[in-house]
Symmetry: C2
Subunit: 119 residues, 2 copies
């Protein structure tokens, strides 16, 4: 079992959640402190139900938590999923960087063997 399959569920949904600019904007806003749904919605041009679905994605992933008091739902950030994902990236990057010189050397050797590179 690779580490990938172990973390797959978590990372799939985390990266999926982060791949949308609206959702990243919400996260950036929440970094400044908790906010209600309509407060979060205000700067975005989309309809409220559409926006709510983005919020739901963030909650399902565990990145955002919310509490409803009266008719107001207040959202805040949960750091754990981010820390995990950042850990994965950092780990990958470490491996890559430790091999980059070798990789580049090899890539150069390959590209010099033939002039057939597309890209």
């Amino acid at each position: 079992m690779t580490i990938v399959s172990y973390m797959a569920n978590q990372l799939d949904s985390f990266f999926g959640a982060m791949s949308d600019p609206t959702r990243r904007a919400v996260i950036e806003r929440l970094a400044a402190g908790p906010a209600s749904v309509s407060e979060l919605h205000k700067p975005h041009k989309m309809a409220l139900p559409t926006f709510m679905r983005h919020l739901k994605v963030l909650e399902d992933t565990g990145i955002v938590r919310s509490i409803k008091k009266g008719r107001v739902r207040t959202c805040h950030i949960e750091a754990a999923p981010l820390i995990e994902a950042q850990g994965w990236l950092a780990w990958q990057r470490e491996i890559w960087e430790s091999r980059l010189d070798r990789l580049e050397a090899l890539a150069h050797r390959i590209s010099e063997q033939g002039d057939n590179h597309d890209t």
Copy 2:
């Protein structure tokens, strides 16, 4: 113009690319060194054209580069996009962590005001 919109294109495609387990597995494999398309494909059960499309996503995002020599296309990793994304995550995390105590205190205060939390 927010920092989000500035980095939007890069980060959208990067996180989108990372949200698929097949593509993350390819990245992990490539961390161990360059490999041909069929070498990369071997451990995956999907049809080759399907797999090729995943590879194309990674190339379009700039995470993977490839060189064709003869009939063999050799792929390797490009570190830059990863470093950028990791930077964004690290930056976010820094902000969050510096506020986490305040956030949690506030969340507690809110949740104690009313018993209406639906997660």
